[in-house]
Structure formats: structure tokens, C-alpha cells
């Protein structure tokens, strides 16, 4: 458990209130090297596990010769499917009951290259690494499907539940005076948190402690409890700091089961650090996608029909959907619409969630297509978007709660200087640089799950906030301190926040950009309850100095309690606590609806996603919105693309801490620049292996790739979206960046690149 205290604050006192620009309260620990990430613990007797992975993409392991590895210095165990202790299957995050078949994290039957097949555990990391190289594996290899483009992959399976249709999309398209049709593609992309995955597992009897970076402590703890057949309460999962996740650290993974099993078999704590190369196959990132978009429009650019057919790759064993119709179906008003999607099984690790799964590639398709339509009919790209503005959710047929997209276009265009754009492609130039301006919009839904939090007022007048929720850099520690400080009426320095430990009150997944809203809501509720109790104490306790006032209520401000009628100095919280003999006031509150307030549903709420509301549950359609304006400079000879500057205007509703929200937006935008220009998992068609499984070949943006970024908040508090008025932040920024850049590149060069990333070979 990590307690983060608010200190080293600079700037304005108002920064501490919700909405203030307080610096990260977990910052001092991070910048001094004292923040303890999961793999930095050293339980007594800890040993090291290294994974052995499949060299083939399809087939089966015939046998494993572990003799040499077992004899190597320091080796304690070579774990294979033959000697591993059995593990039970677990309930999944949709609450699907587990099968009776055992769960086997070490595979015998191989469906992708890089699948775990054995693990070597030794006294030291170096010994385990060396011995892992001595494990001989004999395979029977079968033909593999390397990826979406493999001719053997075919068209895949249609997913009827992804179909979205209204009107007569095909009929209207056939009759439309303007029709365009293009295919857009995104490659396999990886999360690449700079902290690789891994864990330390320690058993004491039937109690398990796991140090592991986690976006979802309670969800992962439940899986571990079920895998190893122990009560949920017996798992303590600790994750006070997470070195980035971007969707990849929300679920328990095979390597977790392997390490915990090894610790059980050896009776010693086991550390398993997934190597950087293994992070490309120990879990999946964004699957490769392709989509065909047909737009039908009038001659003046008004949409009459959108027809979309898309597909994403998935693994051989599981269906992972990257919903390609998610933005297509809500961004523009159209009377006729059709979106259908297939999944195509290939020999890959199961793809996962990577920042804005669905919205991201979906926006790439529609936001490029609408740009193409703008050129086709000769309208400014901003104008065509406003012309087809959706006044209500065209799919759900519900009003938007808030949609500050017009404001975003206006503010962004103004700050960017969009009016200086010459409409014709390849018409702006400086020396050898072709200059292009591009625009695209993005959106991300507001998801909602009930939360829970504990707030304590202590005898010394300080406040504690506790949740098993996590902070992977979104700023949870900080905004919760601000929330509690404001709700109770204490200076933010008086608040300590404890996060990242399964022994604390429950929390749902920090994913889907839902967490800040739900956890501030729960902390706010608990803090108000604690404050009410404090005031009640001050009014009613015989020893309270306020007892004789007969007041109905009191004011708590800056840690001091006073009467609204009294102009005196007031009494500090600590003094009230002391005089009334109270050591603490404690309020544990959840935001569950009445019908879920029972033990079973409470547990389900925090360990599955089955209680998460969709953005259109209720009377409104709830989404965040953004627009990106980009200037690119393309070398006329070489086709190298540089993003020269960007202005983004974003509507995330109310920002709890603009300083931190801006950082998250920019982080998403930067990941979007990487997606547009650099990132691509390259699979060897011969053997299905990810060839660029390292940070020198899978290119993520470096500092020199990123210009100054301007972000503008155009949001207003949206209390339909959340109690405190915030909407989605974390995943919004990336959505729309890649199409804005692709559109700018077209404007600069006259070359339309419809498959990411936009590399020089596609431009020259």
C-alpha cells in the first residue's frame, strides 16, 4: 500500500481545489526514484523466472528436453505442461462462468509464435536467462496464417452483433449523385508501456501476495483467486505505481499464472519480468484492421448514405473485436447507414485493448473519407464537417448530453490559423518543404461503473482517502486529494491518498476512460458523509465549543470549523476531534444503485464489467469530442513527413485538474502521431513472428518527433455524464490524430495514403 501525501506544492492556493492546476502529489516520489513499482520489491528468498516461448506460429510441442537447463547453475525448476501443478479456469470479465477444463498457461498446442511453453526458475535472473536458452523444444509445425493479408486468412467470420443499420443505405448510395469508395487500413500496433509487464508472487500458506502493475486490482485478484482456488480475500495485489498500461495491464495474463504457480511449486517468492521482446507476444495490442467506406452525398456535400464494411484480425482461439463502426455511426448526420464487421482469425496472440480500441481506427476511416468527400465536392474540410453536423446521436436517436464540437472547430481553427490554408493540394510550399494543413475530429464515449471509496478524518485534522483504484499516470492520487479537500473543506496538503492495494475498498477497471469520473464521484460522496458527521459532532457533542450555538449547520473551510452566524476565528478540525474525544471519522460509500447493493452484485460490480453502463443508457448520448488541426512538412524529394505543429480543441466536460488532463490529452496526441507516421508491427509472412519486437525497430515517437502541441479545453461541466461534470479524457486525445495527419499529408503532397503508417515509401 502506498500513501501519497500532498506536498511540495507550488503556485496558487486555489490549485488545491477541484479544477485547480495542482502538481502531481505522487510527483516527488517519481522524480526522486523512490516510487516503488511492482518489480522493485525483494521478498526474502526471491528467485527469478524466465519464459521460454514457441518458435513456431502453429502446430504443437512434441517434447521438451530440459536436461541441460535443469543441470545449469542455479536452476531450481524447468516448468513445462508436464510438471506444472494444475490450475483451474476462472470467470472472465464478462462474468462468463469458468469451464471445468483446467487452465493451461503453458501451451502444448501452438497458435502463435511467442506462446509460452516453458519457464525456467533459477536463483538469479542471469542464471534463469542462460538456462532458458538451453531448453530444447521439438515441434510439429503446421501452416500458419501470418496476418490479415495472408491469402489463407480469407474474409473471416461476420459478427452480427456489430451490425448497425438504419434507412436504406445501399439504395441511397446507388442513387447518390456523388459517391466515393475507399479502403482504409491500420496495422498491428502495440501498447509499449515503458515499464514492461511482470510480477512478483509470494505464497504464505494459502495466502498469496502479488506485486504487479495493474489497471484493475480487483479484477485481476479475482482471476488469481479462482485460478489457484483460494478465497478472493486471500489475494493481496499491490500496485501503487504503474509504469504505463494504455489498456494492456487490466487483465490477468498467462505469465502471471506461470509465476504464481512457480512460487507455489517452489515455496519461494518468484519474480517474472517479461522481456521487452516478449511484450510483443505475451499479450496483444491493437489488431490490424481494414475497412471499406462508401459515402453517398449530394453535389453540395451533404451526406445521404454511409456504407462501411470492416474487419479486424483476431487470434485463433478468441474473438477480440475492434469496433470499426463506433465513430462512423455517430460522427455525422446521415439518413441512411450501414456498418458491418468481420473478425479474421490469424496465428497471433489474442489482440487486446490499446488506447481507444474501436474509436481509433474507426475515426481513421470516416475522418479520412469525409476529407476525401470535401475535395470531391470542393468544400473546405472544416465546412463539410459542419455541414453534416449531427445535432443528435444519429444511431441512438438521443440528444447529446453535451457536444462542444462546433466550439472545438471554431476555437481550433482560430488558434491554428486555418484560414491561411490554400485549398488546392500541393499548393503551399517553403523551399523544399511541401506544407499541408489537415483537420479531423475524434470522439470517445463516457462509460460509467459505480465506484466505492473510504474517506477518514483523523484526530490531527488530516484526511485519508483509500481505494484499490490505481494511478498509472492519469493523476488519480492528485484529483482525489483535490476532491476530498474541496468536499470536506481542508487544505489539499492535509489529504493523504492510498491507492493500489486489494485490501482497500473496491474499484472497477481503470479503463475505458471511466475511472476519474467514477472514483471522484465515490470520494466526493464519502467525503461529504465524513464532513456531515464532523459537523454533526461539532453541533451535538457535549464537549464541542459549538454545542451552545444550537446551529443547524456549520461551515468547514480550510480545516477550520465555524458558524455561519459567528464571525469569530472558528475552531480547527483537530481541536474538535480532540475535545470530543474522537480519533477518527470514517465514511465508506459506494455509488451503486439500490438494486446492486448486495454482496453478490457488489462483488460483480468490481470484478467484472457487467454493470458498466453504455454511453446511451439513459436519456442522453454521452461522449467526449475533439478536433485536431495539423501542419505537416513533407520533404519534396524524400517524402519524409514531419508534424510541424498541432492545435487540438477538446471537450472532456469539466476537467478536475487541467494541468494533468492536458498531459493526458497530449500523451494521446503523441501516440496518435506515432500511429500515423511510425508504428507498425511487422510480421514475417514465412513464420508468423513479429520481426520488430524491440524498441529500436517498433518505432514509437521520440522527443524529436514531437513539435509543440497546443491543447484547448472547450468543455463545460456535464452532470448527465458524471456527478462532478467530467467526461472521458484519457483515450480521447489519440482519436482523430492519424486521419488529421493523413489529411494534411494529402494537402501537402496530393498523395492520399490510406494505410498506416504514412512512411516515405508510400509518398515517393
Amino acid at each position: 500500500m502506498t500513501i501519497v501525501e500532498t506536498r511540495a506544492k507550488r503556485g496558487d492556493a486555489a490549485d488545491g481545489a477541484l479544477g485547480g492546476r495542482l502538481s502531481r502529489i505522487d510527483g516527488p516520489a517519481k522524480i526522486t526514484g523512490l516510487a516503488d513499482y511492482a518489480l522493485e520489491h525483494h521478498p526474502q528468498g526471491m528467485v527469478h523466472a524466465v519464459l521460454v516461448e514457441s518458435a513456431i506460429a502453429s502446430g504443437r510441442v512434441v517434447s521438451i528436453d530440459a536436461n541441460a537447463a535443469e543441470r545449469a547453475p542455479g536452476v531450481l525448476l524447468v516448468m513445462t505442461p508436464d510438471n506444472a501443478l494444475p490450475i483451474k479456469s476462472a470467470t472472465d470479465w464478462l462474468n462468463t462462468p469458468p469451464s471445468d477444463a483446467p487452465y493451461e498457461p503453458l501451451a502444448r498446442s501452438i497458435t502463435f509464435a511467442g506462446q509460452h511453453i516453458a519457464a525456467v526458475i533459477a536463483e538469479t535472473f542471469e542464471q534463469a536467462t542462460a538456462a532458458a536458452a538451453l531448453v530444447k523444444v521439438y515441434y510439429e509445425e503446421a501452416p500458419a496464417i501470418a496476418g490479415l493479408d495472408d491469402p489463407k486468412a480469407g474474409d473471416g467470420m461476420p459478427l452480427d452483433r456489430m451490425t448497425i443499420e438504419w434507412g436504406d443505405a445501399h439504395g441511397a448510395l446507388a442513387n447518390a449523385p456523388i459517391r466515393i469508395k475507399h479502403e482504409y487500413r491500420t496495422p498491428r500496433e502495440y501498447n509499449v508501456p515503458i515499464e514492461p509487464h511482470g510480477l512478483i508472487a509470494e505464497w504464505k500458506g494459502d495466502r498469496l501476495t502479488v506485486w504487479e502493475p495493474s489497471q484493475w486490482i480487483d479484477g485481476m485478484a479475482r482471476t488469481y483467486a479462482e485460478w489457484f482456488d483460494i478465497p478472493f480475500e486471500n489475494v493481496e495485489l499491490r500496485s501503487p505505481y504503474i509504469g504505463g498500461g494504455f489498456g494492456s495491464k487490466a487483465l490477468a495474463l498467462e505469465h502471471g499464472a506461470i509465476a504464481i504457480n512457480a512460487a507455489r511449486m517452489l515455496g519461494r517468492p518468484v519474480k517474472l519480468a517479461v522481456t521487452r521482446a516478449q511484450t510483443f507476444t505475451a499479450y496483444g495490442g491493437r489488431p490490424a484492421t481494414r475497412q471499406t467506406i462508401e459515402l453517398g452525398a449530394t453535389r453540395d456535400g451533404k451526406l445521404v448514405s454511409i456504407v462501411q464494411t470492416g474487419a479486424n484480425e483476431t487470434s485463433m482461439k478468441a474473438v477480440q473485436v475492434e469496433p470499426l463502426g463506433s465513430v462512423t455511426s455517430i460522427m455525422y448526420a446521415t439518413p441512411n447507414f450501414s456498418s458491418r464487421q468481420n473478425v479474421v482469425p490469424v496465428n497471433t496472440v489474442k489482440p487486446g485493448a490499446l488506447r481507444a480500441p474501436g474509436e481509433n481506427p474507426s475515426a481513421f476511416g470516416i475522418e479520412c473519407a469525409i476529407d476525401e468527400l470535401a475535395y470531391e465536392v470542393g468544400i473546405d474540410p472544416v465546412q463539410i464537417r459542419l455541414l453534416n453536423y449531427a445535432e443528435e446521436d444519429p444511431h441512438a436517436r438521443k440528444p447529446w448530453s453535451t457536444r462542444r464540437l462546433r466550439e472545438a472547430y471554431a476555437a481550433g481553427a482560430e488558434a491554428f490559423g486555418w484560414s491561411a490554408r490554400q485549398p488546392k493540394p500541393r499548393s503551399m510550399r517553403e523551399g523544399n518543404q511541401l506544407i499541408g494543413y489537415g483537420v479531423a475530429a475524434g470522439t470517445y464515449p463516457v462509460r460509467r461503473t459505480p465506484g466505492e471509496a473510504l474517506v477518514r478524518i483523523l484526530g490531527d485534522g488530516s484526511v485519508e482517502v483509500a481505494s484499490s483504484g490505481i494511478d498509472m499516470g492519469q493523476g488519480t492520487y492528485t484529483i482525489l486529494a483535490q476532491t476530498a479537500a474541496e468536499a470536506i473543506g481542508v487544505p489539499v496538503e492535509k489529504v493523504r491518498v492510498k491507492l493500489g492495494d486489494s485490501s482497500l475498498p473496491r474499484a472497477p477497471v481503470a479503463g475505458g476512460s471511466q475511472f476519474a469520473n467514477l472514483i471522484t464521484g465515490a470520494v466526493h460522496k464519502a467525503a461529504l458523509a465524513a464532513r456531515d458527521e464532523l459537523i454533526g459532532l461539532a453541533i451535538n457533542d457535549p464537549n464541542s465549543p459549538f454545542r451552545d450555538l444550537q446551529a443547524n449547520t456549520l461551515i468547514v473551510e480550510n480545516g477550520v470549523i465555524s458558524s455561519p452566524r459567528d464571525t469569530g476565528a472558528g475552531v480547527g478540525i483537530a481541536e474538535i476531534m480532540q475535545r470530543t474525544g474522537r480519533e477518527r471519522i470514517e465514511a465508506l460509500r459506494d455509488t451503486l444503485p439500490e438494486n446492486l447493493r448486495n454482496e453478490k452484485d457488489h462483488f460483480r460490480n468490481f470484478t467484472t464489467i457487467t454493470t458498466m453502463l453504455s454511453p446511451t443508457d439513459g436519456d442522453y448520448s454521452l461522449h467526449s469530442w475533439c478536433v485536431h488541426f495539423v501542419e505537416v512538412r513533407v520533404d519534396a524529394d524524400f517524402g519524409t513527413v514531419r508534424v510541424a505543429r498541432m492545435v487540438s480543441a477538446l471537450d472532456s466536460g469539466r476537467l478536475y485538474n487541467p494541468k494533468l488532463a492536458e498531459s493526458q490529452w497530449k500523451g494521446g496526441i503523441i501516440m496518435g502521431i506515432g500511429q500515423a507516421l511510425l508504428e507498425e508491427g511487422i510480421v514475417d509472412a514465412r513464420n508468423g513472428r513479429v520481426m520488430n519486437n524491440n524498441l529500436g525497430d517498433y518505432l514509437v515517437p521520440t522527443n524529436a518527433d514531437i513539435p509543440d502541441l497546443k491543447v484547448i479545453s472547450v468543455g463545460i461541466p456535464d452532470t448527465h455524464a458524471s456527478v462532478l461534470g467530467g467526461k472521458a479524457v484519457g483515450e480521447l486525445g489519440i482519436v482523430g490524430v492519424a486521419p488529421a495527419i493523413a489529411n494534411a499529408v494529402y494537402h501537402a503532397t496530393g498523395v492520399r495514403v490510406r494505410d498506416l503508417p504514412i512512411t516515405m515509401d508510400k509518398l515517393t
Binding site: 526522486t32 526514484g33 538456462a131 536458452a133 509445425e141 503446421a142 515503458i194 493523476g475
Partner: protein
């Protein structure tokens, strides 16, 4: 569907091992090192193949230096050796005996004022998850000392050996610019 038996052998191990009379030795090629880290003399006994990064993190309880790739590709493990920035994952512990090693933990003593680069990182929110941050800060201190913080573009270039997947780059540039001013 299977087409015959394919033998795929993993490559042979690179190291050599010490087997004495068939008895497995728990440790391999241990060496004792005396390292000068953050102004303190530290003794450590490790295998010869142990990197400076793993010596710090696994044997010396100095876990502020991070492992992001173990291959010299991310910069998370940046420390100073004799005042120069060095990737500790590509440096053997045995190589730096007799050198002066500085890590993030030595930049400002606990309880003391933050180093100007640390303070600027906090003020400008030049990090999110914080995992790349010790490496960024050690690089930034060296970048300024090298005289490579003269312009934003120069800072970007000389800070590009440190990846930040959270995307704190513009704020890192702000922080380095400000700290450079303060330190000049």
C-alpha cells in the same frame, strides 16, 4: 493438417558454466566489486555478467534506475558514470569499478530541496506514469551540463535517447529549458 516433424532447437547458451564434480554450483563466476555510487562506497558480490542496471536494482536496492528494454533502446536506465550519461543496461557492473556513478537517488538527498531539473519536471508535469522519468532526469541533467539545451530543437534532439510512452515530451522540453536557465 500437420506436415511432418520439424526440429527447432534453441541456440546454445553463450556463457560457460562451472560444474564441479557433477555438483551444481548455485552461483557462477562471482566477483566482488567496490563501486562508488552517489558518493558512497558500496561493496557488491555478483556474477561477472551482471549489468550495472541489475546490480543497482537487484543487489544494491537502488531501484530508482528503471529497466524498460534491457537493450539500450529506451533510456530508462540512464545513469551518470564519471559525469557522463550512460545506459546502465549496456554496462557491466564490473566495468565501472573505479568510476564515479550517480543515480537518480543521488541527485537530491531525501528531505533536501529538489535538484532544479527535478523541480522543473514537477512544475511542468513532465511525466505521467513516471517510469521513464529517472532516466529522463538523468539525461536532462547531463544534456544541460553538456551545453545541449540551447534551443528547444536542441533539447528535443539531445533528449531523444529517452523514450516516454506517456508522451510527456513537450513538457520535458519545457522543464529542461527552465532548468537550464536556472542552472546557467
Amino acid at each position: 493438417m500437420f506436415f511432418g516433424l520439424l526440429l527447432v532447437e534453441r541456440p546454445a547458451a553463450l556463457g560457460t558454466y562451472c560444474h564441479q564434480n557433477g555438483v551444481k554450483t548455485p552461483m557462477t563466476n562471482q566477483i566482488s566489486l567496490n563501486l562508488d555510487i552517489n558518493g558512497k562506497s558500496r561493496q557488491v558480490t555478483v556474477e561477472a555478467r551482471v549489468t550495472l542496471l541489475d546490480a543497482l536494482r537487484e543487489h544494491l536496492e537502488l531501484t530508482g534506475t528503471k529497466k524498460g528494454c534491457d537493450h539500450g533502446q529506451c533510456g530508462a536506465c540512464t545513469v551518470h558514470v564519471d559525469g557522463e550519461r550512460v545506459l546502465s543496461c549496456l554496462t557491466l557492473a564490473a566495468q565501472v569499478e573505479g568510476s564515479t556513478i550517480n543515480t537518480i537517488e543521488g541527485l537530491s538527498a531525501p528531505g533536501d530541496a529538489l535538484h532544479p531539473v527535478q523541480a522543473a519536471f514537477l512544475e511542468h508535469d513532465a511525466f505521467q506514469c513516471g517510469y521513464c522519468t529517472p532516466g529522463q532526469i538523468m539525461s536532462a541533467v547531463a544534456c544541460i551540463r553538456e551545453g545541449h539545451a540551447g534551443s528547444d530543437d536542441e533539447i528535443r534532439e539531445y533528449m531523444s535517447g529517452n523514450l516516454c510512452r506517456c508522451g510527456a515530451y513537450p513538457h520535458i522540453v519545457d522543464a529542461v529549458r527552465e532548468a537550464a536557465k536556472e542552472l546557467s
